[in-house]
Symmetry: C2
């Protein structure tokens, strides 16, 4: 596909998945790392270099074999990358400057701030004196983060300082490292966006043409290590997702060079976003892209760094496979024994939709990244239900991880079972309502009951409430406006008399609204019917017969059946049953004769 | 994941993708084939065996290294596999008997017939005398297939005989091969189902527990080589799909051993199914499973042959990722020059959703399988539109494939462009209608026009027709009953007076039906409204205001928007526009005063 040879500094799991992507395009990748590193195991095509990405001579040896150099880890020798780039400009992607800036977390933050990108407030802390740190803390408040500027990842080099009494211990823990202090971000959620940068220059103003972004993932950390990612991020509005993608793309466009960047962000309580940190390479939070997106982050990185392919990353190339692709990624870390992590992988084998990635590392050690599992399902609800047993095992491994090599798989599974039965947050989630039923008055409820029963019969999750158009107008509009973002797909609204509720709700949502006219004391329901059905052009209400909540429910089910074959099959079954029932009655009537027939009471 | 080492006879593309699956589970696979075979290129973990799968000594050398042996091609030395199995039962999967039966296509057919599996009628033809063949032909009729019993694949060893005059040439072409004659199957479509068999014994009666199947793919062959697969098969009813899966699973359960089997079938004109042939291994028609299914056929094969993992293939494990995953697989064959096939791959780089698999073969030769492309999209329509440019290039390569090494990429692209513009079958397909609009009488059309215009504005494909409940009752029921299988999602039905059409249509489809009451000469439309809205319990019609086809269309669009975010965004845009329009009118009215205001004509 491309005759250029690629060299990658580092051959861990990221390098391994990068090599997988390269194989599909028949592109040769040479790896610099220890013998038998994960990435080397799967590539017999080419001679690799044995050594360290932090040693200049080894990097030079790799460079001699390759046309393009890239990294799977940023803690590399950038001095030698700088020298190589002086002789061969653009050979190192992303550029050595970018890698050097990003290696030092404080410089990374400075760079972002200089470019107008919102990020967590950070203060360098050179002296390592407790007094100096106390002064900074007085300014920022507690808690705050004490962090190593360099060689910090997966929680190593971070210390959350919760009160003045922890300062001395924090300094002692991180001693001999260059440090800085970071203001605590009171976030509601952590988000991550993988960005692919396809032109070499740093230029924020051209972010729209120089970058593409993958979907927004929600990340969950434990012990400062990524534990889970959810894509699309759960319960995050479209607006915030667009803002997150735009911010991530702008941040990445401030760096030189081409390739994929992992951008980690905080979504704060006020819905604003702050960049936490950036990785100049594929990232744990982008593993899900392998199964869930048109192109994986690894293929995106490969294409971006190759000068002849970087222009193939066009809008849409990084999208989810289909609009209802939902992905959860779960990291599989080492546990008490060298094989404890395999307990998770074995359990995943029996969960349809769970895709296992083991990295080929020799032995599990507590907390070591041994693999990951990506679960794909058509709804996030289903994905969460399916992955919960695996999360239970991961948590059980963590509970036992310091207990040493006598911990058996059975012990882990027993603990997983125990926590699954004692911790109610691990129980199967209640299905999110798909149908919202609302009525103008509680006096409408008896009429609605047969319809609600239909939804139960069809096993469709729903919610029932009261919103009166005339007595609670604000509540009604609020209900309508939030319906779609709360996950509702159809609204059933019942009202009588001057029955404004269904039409008013339809005016404030883009969901289909079904109106049930309730018969009042006068006019035989005609007032309700006409108030609901005679909507002006532009705002439709799907009106059913007076008092016929059953048909409203059946109509709602038919709407869900448009895209859900299972639901449609249930509707077909219901129609068959109805037919059989009538035919059976006809049989009885014909057999007994009309005089003896006891059914059909008036 | 499993400490057993797997040996695979053959290291072509199937072996390569098998090794890819094994890497994800950290299972070691040793390959017997020539040095640098595609499968070996991506596996540096283990020593492979250089040699041939048809040479006993080489197979024995592989066997010595491995705990389990399997094949990626059936044309192997089964004598040595038999010997190995005598010493180590169940080491060869699927069993040597299965491989031996399947190697000989006539024996394969005999085996199926003996087990009651419908397959194409076949007659052995030992003598190679033209007279003998003529006698058989008189019995079967022309055309018929003359086939080699052994070493036949990708069209090699097949000769379609269309008339008596071709008999001598057919025999001459296939001379020195053991031959048989096959009755011509007059099929409407070829289907393929990948089946995974998870228990070792041959037992048709236990097919439900011993096998699982992947979805039904439609296969398209050219020059007797698989060209395209479409999954799910297009326009095939659920019933036929279930029958195809059941037949494939029964056929496979008649063979000994575990593993994946590719079952190719003919769907005949009368909708019955015949087995064409079976492969005892992953198959070209199952490539799509890598991206489209929860588990690929390669992972399924690996798990099935490993005794400790074969029980992990549970129902659902082989399903599509989501209900709206649609996959098209396109084979990339070698062309006139060693790199012509890369023209297809390069074009695929710029099509979001197209996943490229190149096999690492050194040089393209005309017709050699060099790679494949799988395109995933949420609808088959979208998948077809996206892949058409690649099919054009594949066809252009075929046109030029005998023209030798001076054929440039430009020549191929020019031809692709020419055929795309001159062959109307290659034009973008007309989108399949999602909304069916029907009316009781053509006099309703003027009332419906504003609604149809709305669908145009929203870019929703629709169809419009007339079906009168009272004048064409059969046609009306036929319309309703076929609506869902024709791809319609919502029906809009308009009628006036004793307006039975919407309700009758709703009685015969499980789709949502929207009713538009048309105002007649008397009763101001009240007759139509009540005839449509007052449906009995069990059969809902979503009724809109009298004559308000605009609201019917908008309601239909809202229903489509339930699962399609793009459509929903368009509805929201429309609502914003409406709001702006009213506010603008208010501004004009307030500015000019009510006396001067010229809008709002009565």
């Amino acid at each position: 596909m491309d005759d250029l040879q690629v060299g990658v500094l580092g051959g861990g799991q990221l390098g391994r998945m990068f090599v997988e992507a390269a194989h599909c395009l028949n592109i040769k990748v040479s790896v610099l790392d220890a013998a038998n590193a994960p990435a080397k195991q799967i590539n017999a095509l080419i001679e690799h270099v044995e050594g360290s990405f932090a040693r200049a001579a080894d990097v030079l040896a790799l460079s001699q074999k390759c046309d393009i150099l890239t990294v799977e880890i940023e803690h590399v020798d950038t001095k030698v990358l700088e020298e190589i780039s002086e002789r061969e400009p653009l050979k190192v992607q992303p550029s050595w400057q970018t890698i050097r800036i990003i290696q030092d977390k404080y410089r990374q933050k400075e760079h972002l701030i200089r470019n107008g990108i919102p990020t967590t407030e950070s203060i360098p802390f050179g002296t390592a004196s407790p007094q100096g740190l106390k002064e900074i803390a007085d300014r920022l408040g507690y808690p705050f983060m004490l962090k190593s500027r360099t060689e910090a990842y997966d929680g190593r080099g971070n210390y959350p300082v919760r009160s003045v009494s922890e300062i001395e211990k924090a300094i002692a823990t991180l001693k001999d490292r260059p440090l800085y202090v970071e203001r605590w971000a009171d976030f509601q959620m952590e988000l991550a966006v993988m960005v692919v940068k396809t032109s070499s220059a740093a230029s924020i103003s051209s972010w729209e043409t120089s970058t593409q972004s993958f979907p927004v993932a929600e990340t969950v950390h434990e012990d400062s290590i990524c534990k889970l990612t959810y894509t699309p991020a759960r319960g995050v509005s479209k607006t915030v997702k667009s803002q997150a993608q735009e911010l991530a793309r702008k941040a990445v466009s401030a760096f030189e060079g081409r390739g994929v960047f992992g951008v980690e962000m905080f979504l704060l309580q006020d819905s604003s976003l702050l960049i936490n940190e950036i990785a100049p390479r594929p990232h744990n939070s982008g593993h899900y892209t392998i199964e869930a997106c048109h192109m994986s982050q690894y293929e995106a990185h490969l294409r971006a760094i190759l000068p002849n392919l970087s222009n193939t990353i066009i809008p849409g190339a990084t999208s989810l496979l289909t609009p209802n692709t939902n992905a959860i990624m779960l990291n599989v870390l080492g546990g008490p024994t060298p094989t404890s992590h395999l307990v998770v992988a074995r359990a995943a084998l029996t969960i349809p939709g769970a895709k296992i990635h083991l990295y080929g590392k020799a032995e599990g050690r507590p907390g070591r990244k041994m693999g990951h599992i990506t679960l794909i399902a058509p709804t996030m609800q289903e994905a969460q239900e399916k992955i919960q047993p695996l999360i239970n095992i991961v948590d059980a491994i963590r509970i036992h991880r310091s207990e040493g090599p006598t911990t058996s798989a059975e012990t882990i599974l027993t603990t997983a079972h125990t926590i699954s039965t004692t911790d109610s947050s691990r129980a199967p989630l209640k299905a999110k309502p798909l149908i919202g039923i609302t009525m103008g008055s509680d006096s409408d409820l008896p009429t609605l009951k047969p319809g609600v029963q239909i939804l139960d019969d069809f096993r469709i999750p729903y919610e029932v409430t009261i919103t009166s158009a005339h007595r609670t107008p604000d509540r009604m509009l609020q209900y309508a406006r939030t319906a779609s973002s709360r996950g509702l797909k159809v609204i059933i609204a019942a009202a009588g008399g001057a029955a404004h509720l269904p039409g008013m709700i339809a005016s404030s949502t883009s969901l289909p609204v079904i109106g049930v006219p309730i018969k009042g004391k006068t006019l035989d329901g005609m007032d309700s019917l006409l108030s609901i059905v005679q909507m002006p052009r532009g705002v439709p209400v799907a009106t059913v017969a007076i008092d016929n909540s059953v048909n409203a429910a059946l109509l709602a089910v038919r709407v869900l059946g448009v895209e859900d074959e299972d639901v449609r099959a249930r509707v077909e079954g219901y129609m068959m049953e109805m037919q059989k029932e009538v035919v059976a009655k006809a049989g009885v009537l014909e057999e007994r004769g009309w005089k003896e027939y006891s059914g059909g009471s008036k």
